[in-house]
């Protein structure tokens, strides 16, 4: 007994660590683990919230993969995640490289770029829904550079998703610029001095110093960006409600409507599990891809 206690707690006060962790741990079990287990259970049933669930085995999964609406939402989500993922990586990286070490403007620029990041999506959606009207502000601005804007992009299946992507980029790029700047600032000056002594030009410096040393920043950004994008719901629900013709009907919207509009809890649960599997899979892949070489 005494020896068991001695192994569990090295010092007498260590027992308080265990006591302090209990509320938090209980909360995470109650709010995350228990519901996850129940979602797995519900996904094998037909359940409409009002009559008891009926066991249906893998039927929900089988149905999903034959359902055009589900497969369509996976496709729309995949396009969104890839396009916004690349845009939020490449462009903020370039901007950060250019802004890096220009202190006076940086402070102001950073604050301004960050404004859309902190605004609610619902507000951003309201602004851009009106901005995209035709005739409207976007049309006016494009007119200034001689481009025509004949129709509201959000009302055409071919362009609606791109309208939302542009808005999402407007909202989030400041966040990624700041993340890249933080990463760049963490690179020790001596690395650049060494590169300069070897007579490296700007491109060589980037390839042999900046990029390799930005691996952990890159990993973090790719992960945050991906998880944020695949979970995105607000703009799709508020700006277009998934339309027109389901052109912006993403997975989160599919899950939400399947559950709370059509009351097919089992099918929604199955879809959310597939989504979770995708998140875990891609995150693991990203860790493989960007893992710092020795760490």
């Amino acid at each position: 007994m005494t020896s068991g206690r001695a192994r569990l707690f090295k010092r007498p006060w260590d027992v308080w660590g265990l006591i302090f962790v209990i509320p938090g741990l209980a909360y995470f079990i109650g709010i995350f683990i228990y519901p996850t287990v129940r979602t797995i259970g519900i996904s094998f049933t037909d359940y409409n919230l009002f009559t008891p669930p009926v066991w249906s085995g893998l039927h929900n999964y089988a149905t999903l993969f034959q359902q055009g609406i589900f497969l369509g939402s996976v496709k729309v989500t995949a396009i969104y995640v890839v396009v916004i993922g690349v845009a939020n990586y490449v462009l903020p990286f370039l901007v950060a490289l250019l802004l890096f070490r220009s202190r006076p403007v940086l402070g102001i620029g950073r604050a301004v770029f960050f404004l859309p990041v902190i605004l609610p999506w619902v507000v951003v959606s309201a602004i851009w829904k009106i901005f995209y009207l035709s005739p409207g502000p976007i049309g006016f601005l494009l007119g200034l550079v001689g481009l025509s804007y004949p129709v509201n992009v959000l009302t055409y299946p071919g362009t609606a998703l791109w309208g939302i992507i542009a808005t999402a980029f407007w909202k989030s790029f400041g966040f990624y610029v700041v993340l890249f700047l933080t990463g760049l600032n963490a690179i020790p000056e001596t690395y650049y001095e060494a590169a300069d002594m070897d007579g490296a030009n700007a491109i060589q410096r980037f390839r042999s110093v900046t990029f390799p040393l930005m691996r952990s920043t890159s990993l973090f950004i790719a992960t945050v960006n991906f998880i944020g994008a695949i979970k995105e719901f607000d703009p799709f629900q508020v700006m277009t409600a998934g339309g027109p013709a389901r052109a912006t009907y993403v997975l989160t919207l599919f899950i939400y409507e399947t559950a709370f509009k059509f009351l097919r809890m089992g099918r929604a649960a199955a879809a959310s599990l597939i989504m979770c599997a995708a998140i875990v899979l891609v995150t693991v892949l990203q860790f493989r891809l960007f893992r710092p070489e020795r760490d």
Binding site: G17, I19, T36, V112, F113, S125, A126, V178, Y256, A259
Partner: protein
Amino acid sequence: MERLTGVLLRVLRYALILALGIAVLVPLLWMVSSSFMRHTEFFAVPIHWLPHQANAEAYGRLVLEQPFARYYMNSIVISVVVSLSSVFFATLTGFALSSKYSFAGKNAVFVFILGTMLLPFELIMIPLYIMMRALGLLNTYGAVIIPGLLGAFGVFLLRQTINEIPGDLLDAGRIDGAHELILFARIVMPLAMPVMAALLIFTFVGSWNSYFWPLVVINSERLRTLTLAVAYMQGYYSTDYPLVMAAAVLSSLPIMLVFAFSQRFFIQSMTLSGLKG
């Protein structure tokens, strides 16, 4: 030659910042400007960037014809409770899991809590809804608040912070016979205060902006948060744009103010989050 490229680079930098700044600000300024327009002016062709006769009529209608003060109160109550609770429990849990204690399973608990960050909310939403219904909490503040009371990110952030507090400070207190709870309140909390404040702002804004879960558990008009109200208005008053814009301005005002007063702090908290780990 070298000086020339230096100058060119500088010009390019300023031009880039200016262009991006304008691209960010134009839609925001237009939100404010158009909220002071009359309905007819809103649809002027070519459009007016500034109201020719500014008036606050849309704001008047918002306050008089809509329970807008009520929406404000709902958002404030929910965000205050969520952020205070998150910070307190993140600090306590972060302290427990920090280097200041060692007990069997500590690291496993930490990894488990971090792992919950990977779970999308959609995954737990149906059982949470069933739980809230069973507890009779649908259409109450409780249903909105409960899933936000503590987050893994906060635990991670506070654990990192508390790890850096010198252990000697705590040991000195122990020699004086202070209880661990006293050490938590008198040493850990004061030293972690800047990070706690950053987390407070971070969770307040996150809760203020949240839309998905309130949409699921709130039906009654009286309990709508500002985000729900702004979204519903876009549906019901879909062409009363000045009204929607006025609502958008009023609902982003508090976080704009928070941001204005704690900008550096704020950005630091958001970026510190991952890069150190």
